[in-house]
Each structure stands twice: as structure tokens, then as C-alpha cells.
């Protein structure tokens, strides 16, 4: 696609069009952005890389589907009757200990903050998922967007040639799609549920590259007649969607881990989750504002300890590799990495050696952009039954997330007759974990 076919609308006064940038880099590199991602080499150029870093913030949500146990991760209670067999270990922050099941993360608490005092009250998979996806309880009259859609809307670029919101599935569960709600389909996730390649992103074998381009150009030409007769109407979204196709098709390569050297792949590890963490890094590096990587199935009603031993090992390796890699590439200061699920797990251990759903005192972690590394907010009692200090709601977590990436948590959208704040009523950011 020739460079002058790329539209350059919606430039805001305050930020430089990212593509405009890469456009000039692309000219220098003699390759058009849409055709391939070789222009990422431009990131090696210090000044361009620095400028990009300043602009683009991203969020990676490592979604622990099914509800991970806070006692086997961020808030262990060793020696207590609810503590289970695993110990707590020291971390690179003197006063902080986490579960021995996350040894690598224990060495990376300098970039990570923990909230131990979530009390979200909803221990139901459906309700808890909605609550933790959107930051508020379901309401009959309003279709709330999920975190990814909100971030895509606030941090994404209108003319972006990469997706704004990518959601990567997991083998067993975690396929819940979420949605953009009242923000509209523009912010719906690119949802990979069956394969590592987004649906309909690849050109069919039965049509050549030239034919595909020619056809698109002809469609655009004919479409223009109609669009010109109907300015200022819903028609423009049609053109905008079609304009993004070529760019999105070329972003297919972002999902292809074989593009990375073997050393990078080994650094993350071979499991699907670890590969998806690597893909997440590739996506945020290319400017995707929100990536969700789901790992399932943490819902350990039975065999809680074996389950967590296995899942935590996967999480520990994937997450620490991701943080290291982002750090090495200078991306961590602009990327917020989150872990949480729909709820935590009961301190009481049931007869199947399991823990059940529990939303009264559980944990989430936040790393990177805008976060005060090493901070621990909130306390639970000695056995982990209740929050004794710093109770936080889902909305408080969301307000904190927004603040960390530079979005005003008091912002409101106008939906019909009703002003809808992006954060649920009565919720605020937690300053203790913000940088």
C-alpha cells in the first residue's frame, strides 16, 4: 500500500501522529509501514525510540481465570492453619515476603506493587468476572465496557494500524470475550480463541497480494462517492474500518513467535502462556495499548496445592521473563503489567485439599508504568479471613490502573442522557502504590 493512501486524520494537537513518525522512518528504511513491521528496526534509533516511549503507554493484563489463591501467591500465611504446606520467601524488598511458589517474582518486587486488601464481595464466576472486567457491578440499564475497551479508547489512536485491544485465550478456560459496551464495536477486542492467529487476518490463498490491494483500492474509490454525499454521518465509520484492514493484516506478523530469535523464545519458555507473554511484548512494542493474556484454570476446589504449584510455576516464569524483557527494551516504564482474576480463594482448606471461591480478602499485583515498586497496600488478618487495613474495591483498583497510565480517573462519558464516570462511584486511586 503506497504511503499516500494512508489517511492521516484525527491528529490531535498534543501528540504527534505515531504513524507520521514511523512514516518518516519508513521512508528512511525504504519500506512502507503497512506492508511489514521491519520499520520496528527504527526503534533501535535512540531518538525515535525515546520519542515513542514518551508517547505510547500500554497495559498487559495477565488474567488468572478461575480465581488464583492469594495465599499461594502474594499474601502467604505460613505456619497458620489456613496457610497450607508452602512457605513464604523473602524478596528483594526487605519487609516483603511472598509465596515460595513465585521465586523469580520474589527477585522482581522492585518494579511490582501488591494490593492485599481487595474486598469485592462477589464470589460467583459470572458476577465476579463482570465485576473485575469492568470495575463495577452489572447494571440493567448500562452496558459497561471492559478494561481493555476503556484502555483502547483512552490510549489508542484512531488511525492505528495495529489492533487496540488483543485478547489471547487459554487452552482450558478463560475464553470469556468481554466487550466494549457503550463505547461501540470500534473498541471490541481482537479475540483469539482457537488459534494464535486472529480470525480473517490472513489473505486467502486464492487471491494474490496485488489483486487484494487492487480490489481494496477499487472498493475505496466507489465508496468515496457515497461517503462524499453523506458527510457527518455514521457512514464514515465504514471507511475507517476498511482503512485499517491492510495495517491489521500486516500486524499478523506480531503474533508469529517464529519471528523472534530462539534465544528470546527460550528466555520466556515453551508453554503456551509463556509464548503468549512474548507475543504480548511484541504487541505492546508495536503500540498495542491493551493485551489480555488469560491463563486458566485456577479454580482449585480440589487439589489446590498441586494446581498452584503447577500454575504458579508457569506464571512465575512467564511474568518474570516479560518484566525483564520489557525492562531491557526500555518499555517497562510505559507498560503496566497486572495480575488478578475474578476473585481469590478461601483461607479454609476443604476436605478435597482445595480452596473455594473467596472475594472478601484477596490480592492483585501491578508492575511497571506509574507504579511504586516494592509497595504493599492493605493487610489481611493473621489467617487471611478479612481485610484489616486498606479495604479496596474493584473500582479502586481500576482508578489506580487509570492513574498509573495517565488517564484521569474522574473522567466521565456522556451516554445518552446520563453521565457515566469511567470509575465506579465512590472509588479512588490508591496513592500508596502510585509512583
Amino acid at each position: 500500500m503506497a504511503r499516500n493512501d494512508i489517511p492521516n486524520r484525527n491528529l490531535s494537537q498534543h501528540d504527534v501522529s505515531r504513524r507520521g513518525f514511523l512514516g518518516s522512518a519508513a521512508l528512511a528504511g525504504a519500506a512502507s509501514f503497512a506492508a511489514n513491521m521491519r520499520v520496528l528496526d527504527a526503534l533501535q534509533t535512540p531518538t525515535l525510540a525515546a520519542e515513542l516511549k514518551r508517547q505510547q503507554k500500554s497495559v498487559i493484563l495477565l488474567w488468572l481465570a478461575g480465581g488464583a489463591s492469594q495465599l499461594e501467591t502474594w499474601d502467604p500465611k505460613p505456619g497458620r492453619i489456613t496457610g497450607g504446606p508452602f512457605r513464604a520467601i523473602s524478596t528483594d524488598i526487605p519487609s516483603v515476603q511472598i509465596s515460595e511458589l513465585l521465586p523469580k517474582m520474589a527477585q522482581r518486587m522492585k518494579t511490582t506493587a501488591i494490593i492485599r486488601s481487595l474486598n469485592t464481595r462477589n464470589g460467583d464466576h459470572g458476577g465476579g468476572t463482570t465485576l473485575m472486567e469492568t470495575g463495577r457491578a452489572k447494571e440493567a440499564a448500562v452496558d459497561y465496557p471492559d478494561l481493555g475497551a476503556l484502555i483502547a479508547r483512552e490510549l489508542g489512536r484512531a488511525d492505528s494500524q495495529v489492533p487496540d485491544y488483543v485478547s489471547l485465550y487459554s487452552e482450558t478456560e478463560g475464553r470469556h470475550k468481554g466487550g466494549a459496551g457503550f463505547l461501540g464495536a470500534r473498541y471490541a477486542p481482537m479475540f483469539l480463541s482457537d488459534s494464535m492467529i486472529p480470525p480473517n487476518i490472513r489473505r486467502l490463498d486464492s487471491i494474490s497480494e496485488t489483486d487484494h490491494t487492487d480490489r481494496a483500492a477499487f472498493q475505496r474509490l466507489l465508496a468515496k462517492q457515497f461517503q462524499d454525499r453523506h458527510p457527518r454521518s455514521v457512514v464514515s465509520s465504514h471507511g475507517m474500518a476498511y482503512e485499517r484492514v491492510r495495517g491489521l493484516m500486516s500486524s499478523e506478523t506480531l503474533f508469529d513467535v517464529s519471528q523472534e530469535p530462539q534465544s528470546a523464545r527460550d528466555f520466556y519458555g515453551p508453554t503456551q502462556f509463556q509464548e503468549q507473554c512474548l507475543i504480548a511484548r511484541r504487541l505492546v512494542e508495536a503500540g498495542v495499548p491493551f493485551v489480555k493474556v488469560a491463563r486458566a484454570w485456577w479454580d482449585s476446589h480440589g487439589q489446590n496445592f498441586e494446581t498452584h504449584r503447577e500454575l504458579c510455576a508457569d506464571l512465575d516464569q512467564g511474568m518474570s521473563a516479560l518484566l525483564d524483557d520489557l525492562g531491557q527494551r526500555g518499555l517497562l516504564e510505559n507498560t503496566l503489567v497486572l495480575t488478578f482474576g475474578e476473585f481469590g480463594r478461601t483461607p479454609q482448606i476443604n476436605p478435597s485439599l482445595g480452596r473455594d471461591h473467596f472475594a472478601n480478602a484477596w490480592s492483585a499485583s501491578l508492575s511497571g508504568c506509574g507504579i511504586k515498586g516494592g509497595a504493599v497496600y492493605g493487610k489481611t488478618d493473621a489467617d487471611g479471613h478479612t481485610v484489616v487495613e486498606g479495604e479496596a474495591k474493584a473500582g479502586d483498583l481500576f482508578a489506580t490502573i487509570f492513574s498509573a497510565v495517565g488517564i484521569d480517573p474522574t473522567k466521565e462519558y456522556q451516554v445518552g442522557a446520563r453521565p457515566i464516570p469511567i470509575v465506579d462511584f465512590g472509588c479512588k486511586a490508591i496513592p500508596e502504590i502510585l509512583a
Binding site: 447494571e139 440493567a140 440499564a141 448500562v142 489492533p163 457503550f182 463505547l183 461501540g184 464495536a185 470500534r186 471490541a188 481482537m190 480470525p199 480473517n200 487476518i201 490472513r202 489473505r203 486467502l204 486464492s206 487471491i207 489483486d211 487484494h212 487492487d214 480490489r215 481494496a216 477499487f218 472498493q219 474509490l221 466507489l222 465508496a223 462517492q225 457515497f226 461517503q227 454525499r229 453523506h230 454521518s233 455514521v234 457512514v235 465509520s237 465504514h238 471507511g239 475507517m240 474500518a241 476498511y242 485499517r244 484492514v245 491489521l248 493484516m249 451516554v415 445518552g416 442522557a417 446520563r418
Partner: protein, 553 residues
């Protein structure tokens, strides 16, 4: 002393007026000011629309050209684009009454019932897809029988589960019975045009009409509804809604309609044994799947809702909402906008017109099809959507310029299919066999329809749709297949490029190509002369993927 007395008197008067406020507000406007009842519906519409345009000194757009008019009317009444034969025949016809003949043909066609059913289904399921088959069948049958809207409402709210024909009507309640808030909000919004959800936690901050009392008052009509173990809709013998005010005061809700009219449950003395028997019977229903038909209490709040809502001095919510929602189906915007904000702070753009149409609807037994006929026959409906006059166009609330509206997922799916077929196989849309073909199209369109966004407030075309068209095997292999039964097959048979271009434009966009377009198409096809079939497929694809097909303009 006198001042204090006067002050008290004033306060009492104000309080009295506030208490009656909702009732005063909802009182009917005097009919003396409206056009006579015998005025044809379309003339009444045009009278009031023109009156306001004159008052605001705004010119409406010109009338839409004929290809646009038949396309729009066919999409709105039949749920599909016009076929090539239909479109060409209409444009060529010379009778002066061809427009009214078109409307009659379409409203009598089997397409009408299918499409209106889809529209009602969309309305009542509030955007959810794929409702149960028996519910869809119920709606189809009701429309075919011209069943009045008040009767349908009655069936949806209080239908007898034991009546096989009516049972599916209860889907409205059944799918919401587990969520009292959703049931309250949806009923209030979809049948009365009032979204009271804001008033759940506090009196509405902006609108004096809606207090917590109203929210919980409406909720009280539904509070006793429960689902039995066998998923039947049933009602308990007792139950009240409690709520907390912003001051923390706990209150018991009265059963109260939006007009402020209160329903007092009858006071019936029951012995503790009787009460226990009743509660046990209800409890058994929720546990035992062999329990037999659920008990029917003498007092049914939801039956009272229907009775009250349709009562002569209370039915303005029901009637006005029906008019408003039907109006919005054909104009893309209600007379009251948004559709669920019918209150004193949000008056209709044309209050007298809304009143006249509501009065007309009630006087004609809530016959929605009569209203529809009147709307699509009006001049206002037939305006162009293109503004090429000097100065600013009239605002959308003036209805002087047609709005561009996205097709519904089913309209789009059906239209894509029709547009991709050989036009010579699509000439018999008025024949008796057409109903079977149309039924088949309906059933086969579900899958594709699910790929498209449901039109709503913040509608945008998603990039998924663009990717679907560009890269899915289905769009390429199915819709632009080189096959005698397909449009491509027909174009291949045409003698020259000019005929190919004309046929494609008429079949897909329902009009002749403009000279500029014609030459662009000729250039394109000539470029592809080395592989003419491929060229034709790409050409047809580009038209199928056009925004012009995607929208109702």
C-alpha cells in the same frame, strides 16, 4: 403570625402540587387543539412536520429519487433490498399512484411479517440475539393475524402457560424473571418509554418526575413473579419491595404506576395455616419438577399493571411509547429522543403530532400496521438523505432530511445474499411460492447475521466486519462464486462491459451507475481483461462491500 400562616399555606400548596405533579404532568393534552381524527395518518404527519419547518424557517430536503425510495421502502417494510426486477419496474412505471401501490404490495407480502417480526424481536430483546424459536413463531403469527399491540402486551405479561399458542409470549418475562431490576427497567423502558433506573438509588437528579417511589413502585408489579422448577412463570401470594432512601430511611414500596396511580392489594384475612399452605405450595413449585400447574393467587400485581396501563386515563405512556418506537423504526430517531426518556424535561420534538398519533392508535385498537402504513406513505418519510442546498440542513429532530441508518444484521445478511444471486432467478417475489423462499432465506441468514454488529446508540462498523469481507473464505467463495445461479454467472453471459456494469449496479445498489462510476468500472474491468472472471468477481465484491449497501439511505 399572619406571615407564618401564609408561609405554611404556601408550603402546603407547593407540597400538594408536588404530590400531584406526576399526575398533572401525565394528564392528556386537550384534543381540541389537534387535527381532526378523520385526517389520514400520513397527512397529519406531513402537516405537523411542515408546520414546524415553517416556524423555524427551514427548508426540507427534496424528495428522494425513485430508486432510493423503493430501496428504502422495501428495506423498511420487507427487510431486504429490492430485487433488480422490482427496482427497475418501479422506476419505469408511469402510474401516479405507484408509491401507494408499492406500499400495499410490500405490506401484503410475506416479507412484511418476517421483517416486522425481526424488528419486534430486536426491540423486545433489547439487542440480544438468537431468541427462542417459539418466541419468534409467536411474534410472526401475531403479526400475520394483525393482533393488536395491547393484546400482545397482555399476552406477554399475563399469558396462560397452559395455552400452547400463548405460552411463548411469556418469554419476555421468563428471560428476565431472575433479575427484578432488569425486568423492571426493561418493561418500563420498552413498553412505556421510561428508563427509571436512575431513580433506583436516589430521586432522579435532573428529572422531577422520577422518584425512588416510581422505580420501586414499578418494581412492585413484578416482585412476586418467580420461575418454577420447570421454568414456568408464576406468581407468589405475597411480597413487597423494600428500599432505602438516600437518607438511610427504610421504606416499603407501594405498587405504583408511572402516572402515580397506586394499586392497593386487597386486604384478605388469612389464617396462619392458610399462609403456610400458600407458601408451601409456592416452595414446592420451585423444588419439584412434577408439581403440576402452579397456584394462581387471586391478586396478581402484573395483571393489575396491564389493566392500569391500558386504562383510558392512564394509557398515554403505553400509547405514546408505541408510537414513538414505531416512528423510530422508520425515521431512525424518535419524536422523543432518546426513546427511553419520555418525561417532562425531554419533550417531544413535535408534541401535537405525538398526541395526534397516540390518539389515533388508541382509537384504532392499537393497530400498529395502520400506523406503519401512514408513516411510510408520508412525504416526511420520502425525503432525500442528501443535502445539496445552500445553508445548513434542518436538524435531525425536524425530520426534514432523511437519516442514514445502518441495516440491521438480518437486513444486511439477507440483502447480501439477494444481491449476490442471479437476478433472473429473483423475478417471482409476488408469487405464492415466494413465502417459502423467503422463509429459507430467513433461516439461512442467521449465521452470517451473527457476524454483524447490532445497530444501537454508538454504532460503528467494527474492523472485524472489514476483515471478514476482505479475508474470509465465505465472502469470496460463497457470495462471488462463479456459478449460473449467482450474479457472477449472470454477468458472464452479458454481451458487453456496459451491460455487466448496469446489471451489477441495479442488482446490488438498486440504481443506475453514474457516468463517473461507469468509467471507473470500465477501466477496472479492462485492466483485468487477462482474467475476466476474476475481474468480475472483484468488481462484484467491491460493490457488495460498499457502504452504500451497508446503510439504509
Amino acid at each position: 403570625m399572619l406571615r407564618q400562616f401564609c408561609w405554611m399555606l404556601m408550603v402546603m400548596v407547593v407540597m400538594h402540587r408536588c404530590a400531584d405533579f406526576a399526575e398533572l404532568l401525565s394528564a392528556e393534552l386537550l384534543p381540541a387543539e389537534l387535527l381532526p381524527a378523520e385526517t389520514p395518518v400520513d397527512q397529519a404527519i406531513d402537516h405537523y412536520i411542515q408546520l414546524q419547518l415553517d416556524t423555524k424557517q427551514k427548508q426540507p430536503a427534496a424528495m428522494a429519487d425513485e430508486s432510493t425510495l423503493i430501496r428504502r421502502t422495501t428495506l423498511d417494510l420487507a427487510g431486504r433490498i429490492a430485487t433488480l426486477s422490482e427496482a427497475q419496474a418501479y422506476v419505469a412505471a408511469t402510474e401516479t399512484d405507484k408509491r401507494s401501490k408499492l406500499i400495499e404490495r410490500l405490506m401484503a407480502s410475506p416479507d412484511f411479517a418476517f421483517h416486522f417480526r425481526n424488528s419486534l424481536e430486536g426491540l423486545l430483546s433489547d439487542g440480544q440475539r438468537n431468541s427462542p424459536g417459539d418466541w419468534r413463531e409467536y411474534l410472526l403469527k401475531a403479526i400475520r393475524e394483525h393482533r393488536p399491540w395491547d393484546q400482545m402486551f397482555r399476552e406477554m405479561m399475563t399469558g396462560n402457560e397452559e395455552d400452547v399458542a400463548i405460552k411463548p409470549a411469556l418469554t419476555f418475562l421468563r428471560s428476565r424473571a431472575r433479575d427484578l431490576d432488569q425486568l423492571t427497567n426493561d418493561t418500563s423502558s420498552l413498553f412505556f418509554g421510561v428508563n427509571v433506573s436512575c431513580a433506583k438509588c436516589h430521586d432522579h437528579p435532573l428529572v422531577d418526575d422520577w422518584k425512588q417511589e416510581h422505580y420501586f413502585g414499578m418494581s412492585s408489579f413484578f416482585q412476586r413473579i418467580y420461575l418454577t422448577k420447570t421454568n414456568l412463570v408464576a406468581e407468589k401470594f405475597s411480597g413487597e419491595v423494600k428500599y432505602k432512601t438516600t437518607k438511610g430511611e427504610e421504606k416499603l414500596a407501594r405498587i405504583m404506576f408511572l402516572t402515580g396511580a397506586v394499586v392497593e392489594p386487597p386486604v384478605v384475612a388469612k389464617t396462619p395455616e392458610q399462609i403456610k399452605e400458600e407458601n408451601d405450595a409456592v416452595h414446592q413449585q420451585t423444588q419439584d419438577d412434577k408439581a403440576g400447574p402452579p397456584p394462581k393467587p387471586d391478586f396478581s400485581p402484573r395483571a393489575k399493571l396491564v389493566e392500569l396501563a391500558l386504562q383510558a386515563d392512564q394509557n398515554h405512556f403505553f400509547a405514546r411509547n408505541a408510537v414513538n418506537r414505531i416512528w423510530a423504526l422508520y425515521f431512525g430517531r424518535g419524536l422523543v429522543h432518546p426513546l427511553d426518556q419520555m418525561h417532562s424535561e425531554n419533550p417531544a420534538s413535535h408534541p401535537e403530532l405525538l398526541d395526534w398519533l397516540s390518539r389515533d392508535l388508541v382509537a384504532h385498537q392499537y393497530d400498529l400496521q395502520r400506523l406503519i402504513r401512514g408513516i411510510v406513505s408520508s412525504q416526511a418519510y420520502g425525503r432525500s438523505s442528501v443535502w445539496d442546498s445552500a445553508g445548513d440542513p434542518p436538524g435531525p429532530e425536524q425530520f426534514g432530511l432523511a437519516l442514514v441508518r445502518p441495516l440491521s444484521s438480518r437486513q444486511y445478511s439477507l440483502s447480501l445474499r439477494l444481491a449476490s444471486l442471479n437476478p433472473e432467478t429473483m423475478t417471482a417475489t409476488s408469487s405464492p411460492e415466494w413465502v417459502n423462499r423467503r422463509d429459507e432465506f430467513e433461516r439461512n441468514s442467521d449465521d452470517l447475521a451473527n457476524q454483524f454488529e447490532v445497530p444501537g446508540e454508538n454504532f460503528q462498523i467494527s474492523v472485524d466486519e472489514a476483515l471478514l469481507f476482505n479475508n474470509s473464505a465465505r465472502m469470496w467463495d460463497e457470495f462471488v462464486r462463479d456459478d449460473g445461479g449467482m450474479l457472477i454467472g449472470s454477468l458472464k453471459q452479458k454481451a458487453d462491459q456496459s451491460a455487466q456494469i448496469e446489471t451489477a449496479f441495479w442488482a446490488i445498489l438498486g440504481r443506475a451507475a453514474q457516468p463517473v462510476e461507469r468509467s471507473a468500472c470500465e477501466d477496472f474491468l479492462t485492466q483485468k481483461a487477462a482474467n475476466p472472471v476474476l475481474g468480475l468477481r472483484q468488481f462484484v465484491w467491491s460493490l457488495l462491500a460498499s457502504p452504500e449497501l451497508r446503510f439504509n439511505h
